[in-house]
């Protein structure tokens, strides 16, 4: 197959790429772009997501080994696009009420998703870097899209400064890897991984590269930006950054370390990942207890969840990869759902973020309270919600890798985290309403919450459907 026709294999990417251009045209040419763009965006996302998951078994390497489609990449693309679609659905009314209804919001979301897809499909370090920058730059702008609010601008600036700082290490890592391996092709690196890993420069390069992505997944001690940025950014944007952004970073970590996962090579980073996982879980769970602001609480909880997934990296076997991917899928929908509820309740100027705003929610809106409880139970890892199986698969994998102590720490940390998740439930159901919050009716917002809730339940009741797909495509 020549390069000319290979491009058509990338139909989802093409659709989104052309969609970005079309969106710009729509934005310029019509005054009604605010009512067209969200649905156009959702449409291309759903198409791309459906196309990816239908062709999940069609694994191909394209462009002379630069890029892959199908297999694990397709599952990641599914998470990115469907997650982003839910987020856009949630944001339709939200960005209207917070007066930031600019067309570029949708264009930026589309571009960031394209960046993530490039990251997940890349088989070359430069390709990864291009995808990463596309995603990150869009995120920097998205974080500060509400220009009129101070917190927003602060979040964007901090995210940009620290993000750029972390990117510097990634580039430095790439340089060191290229210097020792004489190639940027991941296939080559993975192929000779065992040979290179004894080289201190390669090891250092790889470590710096991994550290850069640990920043993106918000693992301890590279998490400092998370609370500020998550709290400052607009709620749907936070939802997107915390779920799909994290998934994209993990897709790169899984690819770069795939030699460890698939070939039974000693995991040099086992102790490193184990320590980082432990610290992230405990730090995230303990500090989250003290938070009264729900967005901030979920920010710390996202650090803890990064920790659980890092357990999978420490375990370094094929089961742990499937565990991480399942976890990412589950986490994407339960977190998007939780942020979706927050977005509906917080009011036009984000004034109702305090946990007290949730007291007596059940009497005001039983549907929202019910779904929020569902997401809290899911995040806490209580069956039959999807969150339980995410943790379960990762813990099983770590026990298999003789890291039983790490699984015990994970369970311990989950037990701590139950406190602050259930605290929300207690406020919603057992406290009388103290504030006079008016919940604005938003059909699309509610729909986004319901879809996420159903997905969390479906993946929780039928975990094996997704899990068996993941395990079977991992054999590629």
């Amino acid at each position: 197959m020549t390069a000319n026709t290979e491009i058509f294999q990338l139909l989802p990417h093409l659709v989104i790429g052309v969609g970005i251009v079309l969106s710009v045209v729509i934005e310029i040419s019509t005054k009604k772009s605010e009512s067209i763009l969200p649905w156009f965006t959702i449409l291309i996302f759903v198409f791309a997501g459906a196309h990816s998951i239908i062709n999940v078994y069609d694994y191909q390497i394209l462009f002379g080994g630069m890029y892959a489609i199908g297999g694990v990449t397709a599952i990641f693309n599914f998470i990115f696009t469907i997650g982003a679609a839910i987020m856009v659905l949630n944001a339709v009314d939200y960005i209207k009420k917070s007066k930031m209804n600019f067309g570029e919001f949708y264009i930026l979301v589309q571009s960031s998703v394209l960046g993530m897809m490039l990251m997940a499909g890349a088989r070359d370090l430069f390709m990864i870097f291009i995808g990463l920058e596309l995603m990150s730059i869009c995120f920097y702008v998205l974080a500060g899209i509400n220009r009129s609010r101070m917190g927003n601008t602060e979040a964007a600036l901090k995210y940009f400064l620290l993000g750029a700082f972390a990117t510097g290490f990634i580039v430095f890592g790439i340089a060191l890897i290229y210097g020792t391996a004489k190639s940027t092709s991941i296939d080559q690196i993975v192929f000779a991984y065992e040979y290179f890993i004894t080289d201190v420069l390669f090891l250092t390069g790889l470590a710096l590269f991994v550290i850069g992505f640990l920043f993106k997944i918000a693992a301890f001690p590279f998490h400092m930006w998370v609370p500020d940025v998550y709290q400052g950014a607009a709620t749907p944007v936070t939802g997107l950054m915390s779920t799909t952004g994290k998934a994209a970073a993990f897709s790169v970590l899984i690819i770069i370390l795939s030699a460890v996962f698939t070939q039974n090579i000693t995991n040099n980073f086992e102790i490193l990942f184990a320590v980082i996982a432990t610290l992230s879980m405990l730090y995230g769970s303990i500090v989250a207890i003290a938070q009264d602001n729900l967005k901030r609480m979920l920010a710390y909880s996202s650090i803890a969840h990064a920790g659980y997934m890092t357990i999978g990296l420490a375990a370094g076997n094929i089961e742990s990869v499937s565990g991480i991917i399942f976890y990412l899928t589950a986490y994407a929908f339960m977190n998007l759902g939780a942020f979706g509820v927050i977005a509906l309740i917080e009011g036009s100027n984000e004034e109702n973020l305090d946990i007290n705003s949730y007291s007596g929610l059940n009497s005001k809106s039983p549907i929202l309270a019910g779904f929020m409880a569902l997401f809290m139970f899911a995040l806490a890892g209580i069956p039959p919600m999807a969150g339980f199986f995410g943790k379960y698969y990762v813990f099983v994998a770590s026990i298999k890798a003789d890291l039983t102590w790490l699984a015990i720490v994970g369970v311990f940390s989950s037990a701590i985290s139950v406190y602050f998740y259930l605290r929300v439930v207690v406020y919603m159901y057992f406290k009388d309403s103290t504030s006079s919050i008016i919940i604005k009716n938003s059909f699309t917002g509610l729909l986004a919450v319901i879809i996420s809730g159903l997905l969390v339940l479906v993946f929780g009741i039928l975990p094996d459907t997704l899990f068996s797909i993941i395990t079977s495509v991992l054999s590629y």
Binding site: L162, P221, D228, V287, I289, F389, F467, S468
Partner: protein
């Protein structure tokens, strides 16, 4: 229809979802009642069609597995939501949906006007859903999910009138008691399950049982598994020592007592023992324990039933006693007799409870039989059906209870010994006595209630029609299990139907009793005539010569008080288990462990966290450089670690 069996499970779930989430909005009792009962009714029809289809299959093809989906599959642990459709599960499914449907219909009338009408039907549907999972599941995990699910529904429905008083405490306390006592049993069941997985590396019924059939020499393992499972059964099926919750469970609405605490849920333990018959058969010692516990419970509860004055309490102790019979049957290896009694008992005990509900309904929730009397002329249908059920449970020849009870008594002698039979027959005599004491005090004799306050009347048709259907079943329900002494060689249809399920267990137990039919007839004649005499005696005493009973009570005051206070078992548990736990909880766990230790840690952590957050707050004045510094420190540490580890 076999492959559609999952509908029998999903339909009640659908009913629960509709009534539970939208019931308040629907508001209309007729619609809610229709949704609630029709889902169960359709499930019954599907089960019935599946039964017919199974009957038409050759015997060796009657075990079918319907897989819905794989729940999780990790390593050797493979758990799927699949359902086992075989002779045993079909019988149970028919009892659950059939009797369940009648009770749902009855409830439309009984619960009329209640403010939580939709809540009641939602819980009832949820119960049927859980119970169907319990009886149809093809592995221990699904069974356990159903097991816990029915426990939850039982808790919710006992506590249905959560804001009312019940005896010395509240309804909520009664519900809590049921839940906690059941937890003890469930813990045993869980241990049994763990041990099964440890031993057989599977939790699937067919795999475990076929392995168990060939496994020899592991008697102690089998013993422990059987013991743990039986502990679970004693909790759910209210046997000694965990029976104390069932009488208190009467705090729930009467249809709940009929459905959950008489006909279906409490028989789950018997079903589980029968299902795992091969495991119990491989542990003969534990099987003997099952028999003895069952027998003791039967006698024990029957004696308490003699003196109770609350109509539902009498029936509750009668249920405990009849459940004891079923365990006696299972314990002597007569598993099909146990299931047969489960079925007939479901008919007549549900009828008794529903009849009692009809009486309570018309007497404005008065439950004391001392304030009844002469009700037969006011409510003829209730009276007629109630007395049929009373005849059936007392073992009147030809009625359903006679066949099932006498089968158990016969096997307790043939496979067991004479003492088993004697105590079993004694229980039958006691049963006949307290049932006819109940009937006489309620429906006969002078009216002991004030006409100003009470206006007894017959219940509406929606309540009496289920009574009539159950009465018919109580009469003819036993005719499918007529013992061979009357029906000839291989004439017991019910036994033949279930025989393939229990074949392995029976082969392993190898009872080759050389007992003649003459022996059987003699024993039957003795027990039946004793029961008939006891019925007549009770009727005579309580309709015409009440003073005899009073004299008796005075003469044996001590014994009478012991019985009236239920052998002081509740007080005994209170003193030996509950009080010590509460005292030590209060003195040690609360005052020392909780207040000092845990609160200390929590408050200490809180202090640490607060200072922690204030440190973080200081960093969050917008100084991104500090963040970068911390990152840098982390990176430096990792790089140092890499260099040092090389």
């Amino acid at each position: 229809m076999i492959e559609l069996i999952y509908l029998t499970i999903l339909l009640p779930l659908l009913g629960f979802v509709i009534n539970g989430f939208f019931g308040k909005k629907i508001g209309n009792e007729k619609v809610i009642g229709l949704i609630g009962s029709s889902t169960v009714g359709i499930s019954f029809v599907i089960s019935l069609l599946a039964l017919i289809e199974t009957i038409n299959l050759p015997v060796e093809q009657r075990t079918n597995v319907v897989e819905l989906f794989t729940w999780m599959s990790v390593g050797s642990l493979n758990i799927s939501f699949s359902y086992l459709v075989d002779q045993l599960s079909l019988v149970m499914a028919l009892i659950v949906t059939g009797v369940g449907f009648l009770i749902h219909v009855y409830s439309i009338g009984y619960m009329h006007g209640d403010k939580g009408f939709y809540r009641f039907f939602a819980y009832m549907n949820l119960f049927i859903f859980a119970m169907m999972n319990l009886v149809l599941g093809d592995n221990f995990v699904v069974l356990f999910l159903g097991w816990e699910g029915v426990g939850l529904c039982s808790y919710l429905l006992i506590g249905y009138y959560y804001d009312q008083k019940f005896e010395k405490g509240t309804v909520a306390q009664a519900a809590k008691k049921a839940f906690i006592v059941n937890r003890i049993g469930d813990f045993g069941f869980l241990l049994g399950m763990f041990l099964i997985f440890e031993t057989f590396n599977s939790l699937n019924f067919l795999e475990v049982f076929s392995q168990a059939k060939h496994l020899t020499g592991a008697e102690s393992t089998f013993g422990f598994i059987a013991l743990f499972l039986f502990i679970g059964a004693t909790g759910k099926s209210a046997q000694i020592p965990l029976f104390v919750w069932l009488p208190d469970a009467m705090a729930g609405p009467t249809p709940v007592s009929a459905l959950i605490h008489a006909a279906t849920m409490v028989t789950a333990g018997v079903y589980m023992v029968a299902r795992a018959s091969i495991i119990f058969a491989s542990a003969p010692v534990i099987l003997a324990v099952v028999a003895v516990i069952g027998l003791l419970t039967a006698v024990f509860a029957a004696t308490i039933g003699l003196v109770q004055t609350d109509i539902k309490k009498v029936l509750a102790y009668s249920t405990v006693s009849q459940l004891g019979y079923m365990f006696l049957a299972a314990g002597v290896g007569a598993f099909s007799a146990a299931i047969f009694h489960v079925m007939t008992h479901a008919f007549f005990k549900a009828l008794l409870f529903l009849g009692a509900g009809s009486v309570i309904h018309s007497m404005h929730h008065q439950q004391d039989i001392m304030h009844y009397g002469g009700l037969k002329k006011y409510m003829p249908v209730t009276f007629l059906t109630f007395i049929i059920a009373a005849f059936a449970i007392s073992g009147f020849p030809g009625l359903s209870g006679f066949f099932s009870k006498d089968e158990i008594l016969w096997f307790s002698y043939a496979n067991g010994n004479f003492v088993y039979w004697l105590l079993g027959a004694l229980t039958a005599v006691l049963t006949a006595f307290y049932m006819f004491r109940l009937v006489s005090l309620t429906f006969f004799g002078e009216e002991r209630f004030s006409h100003d306050k009470y206006h007894p009347h017959e219940s509406p048709k929606v309540m009496t029609i289920p009574l009539i259907i159950l009465a018919v079943l109580s009469v003819i329900g036993g005719w499918i299990g007529i013992p061979e002494v009357f029906s000839g060689e291989h004439g017991n249809v019910f036994h033949n139907w279930l025989a393939p399920i229990f074949l392995d267990a029976e082969l392993k137990l190898a009872y080759y009793g050389a007992h003649s039919h003459t022996e059987e007839l003699i024993l039957m004649a003795i027990s039946v005539s004793a029961a008939l005499f006891s019925m007549y005696g009770a009727f005579k005493i309580y309709t015409q010569r009440r003073e005899i009973a009073e004299k008796f009570a005075l003469k044996f005051k001590k014994a009478y008080m012991v019985l009236l206070n239920k052998y002081y078992v509740d007080e005994f548990y209170e003193a030996t288990v509950i009080q010590p736990i509460q005292k030590s909880s209060e003195k040690f766990l609360w005052k020392i462990a909780d207040n000092k230790l845990i609160d200390g840690i929590v408050n200490g952590t809180a202090v640490v966290i607060t200072s922690f957050s204030s440190v973080i707050k200081k960093m969050q004045t917008g100084v991104a450089q500090v963040y970068a510094l911390i990152m840098m420190t982390g990176i430096a540490a990792i790089l140092f670690w890499i260099i040092l580890s090389l």
